[in-house]
Amino acid sequence: MNRNIQRLAIGAVTLFGLLTITACGGPPAQIPTVPPAANSSAAVDSASSSVSSSQADTTESVALAYDPKDGSLLKADNAGLLRWRTDTGWRKVNIPQVSTLSAIVVNPDNPTTYYASGPGVGVIRSNDSGNTWQAINTGLPSLDITALAIHSFRRDTVFAWMRGKGVARTEDGGANWKQVPDRGPRDTNVHGLVFSTLPGSMNTGWLYASTPTGAYMSMDCFCGWRAAGNIPANPMIRSVAVDPQTPARVYAAGPAGLFRSDNGGLDWGEPLTGLAGKPLAVTLDPKTPQTVFAVLIDGSVWKSPDGATTWQPLKAA
């Protein structure tokens, strides 16, 4: 009898554990391990975590985000996640098991919330400004994510571009994802996404996509993508930023320079002057959108206080 009771007790404890893990969805979602990108050109000093960012012209995703909490800039690319502060310069933000990223998004209304993505990584989320991360891939049809965008007023809505598959959307902060019915732009090599509240959408706004053949835009009902103007010299666009207070003002960065549109991307002016090199990515302070930031190919950081009219380099102390 004692043996029977022992067996029952062992069985009960084992089953309890199995059932608990199964019913609760298992341990916290692990971030998939992805080896470093073979073509990473950013030199990373792992001892000091300081980074000398130097990236040649590339079609890989490079994303820039402003963290209004401390005024730092975040850059996601094939060197992972880097943070720039005036007192430190570029510093690597360590994300366990992840070495290559494609996008970084900061929730402007809750700036401790970051979303990042990468090829083979899917989407990861941090609720503590990048100290800890959790994979949020439930329902995501592909982990090969090349771009992310956060909605302008539905902050739990995030869009992800899946290479070869199109757009997925979460409406609950990443707890669940669904692929949206969308054919994608003519060039599906999307390596940047940004949301805009530009008027005229039949839903809640627009998405801009940056691609090697230019910028494209679609309403977020996904009724078709159209070219966002034309930049004839070299149409490749790496990065797009939208002024959230004046959404007709759009910035686009690419090998041909930094451009500004004041009609939602229908027309673009000449390349803006004042930057001492080719821009790699552009972003702005969403609360003070006249403050625009650009990172150049040599890794230098530039700031404009007046909507990209004048620029000054930022020097790390």
Binding site: M1, A12, L15, A23, G224
Partner: protein, 178 residues
């Protein structure tokens, strides 16, 4: 050969143990589920299934559609040729309203207002209407009937998608005149 009978005492004890075992398994399962803290363990089933359509309204909608809309959107709502390819101006030809198009991406409000108010280039406010505004020609009931006709062309999953878009629309759907 007589099979030795188990003692009544043993049989009673085993029966008792088996009954207790059943209860223990039940208890274990209950505890395990309780330990999850009430988390959903499986995706919630859709609680808001799309409403059924009125066949008479569909018939009316098809008649109005053929009379007013088919010349641009196709007699079977299949859309203009190459409707998915934007022209040099970035604008798209008249889209289909069947499953192959994107009409089902839109809430009831958007569909209603698009028919009532017409459509121009959304990036060029004030530009000429590319689709006429039918609000002064069609009655409220005729507009709703056209939308019902569209819905009758869609797969169940697209009906459900469109219904969910309607439910989460940030603006209310226009109500019929009393």
């Amino acid at each position: 050969m007589e099979i030795p009978r188990r003692s009544n005492n043993l049989a009673t004890l085993e029966g008792c143990l088996m009954r207790r075992t059943r209860y223990r398994w039940l208890l274990v399962i209950t505890m395990a589920l309780t330990a999850c803290g009430g988390q959903n363990v499986s995706p919630a089933a859709p609680t808001n299934s799309y409403p059924t359509l009125d066949p008479a309204q569909i018939t009316q909608g098809r008649q109005v559609y053929v009379q007013r809309c088919a010349s641009c959107h196709g007699p079977k709502a299949e859309g203009a040729p190459n409707w998915a390819t934007p022209g040099p101006d970035g604008l798209f030809p008249a889209p289909p309203h069947d499953d192959t198009g994107h009409t089902w991406h839109h809430s009831d409000r958007v569909l209603y207002e698009s028919i009532r108010d017409g459509m121009n280039d959304p990036l060029r406010p004030g530009s000429p209407l590319r689709m006429p505004a039918w609000g002064s020609t069609l009655s409220d009931g005729e507009i709703r009937a056209i939308i019902s006709y569209f819905k009758s062309l869609w797969l169940a999953e697209h009906r459900q998608y469109q219904w969910e878009e309607t439910l989460k629309d940030f603006k209310p759907t226009p109500t019929p005149p009393s």
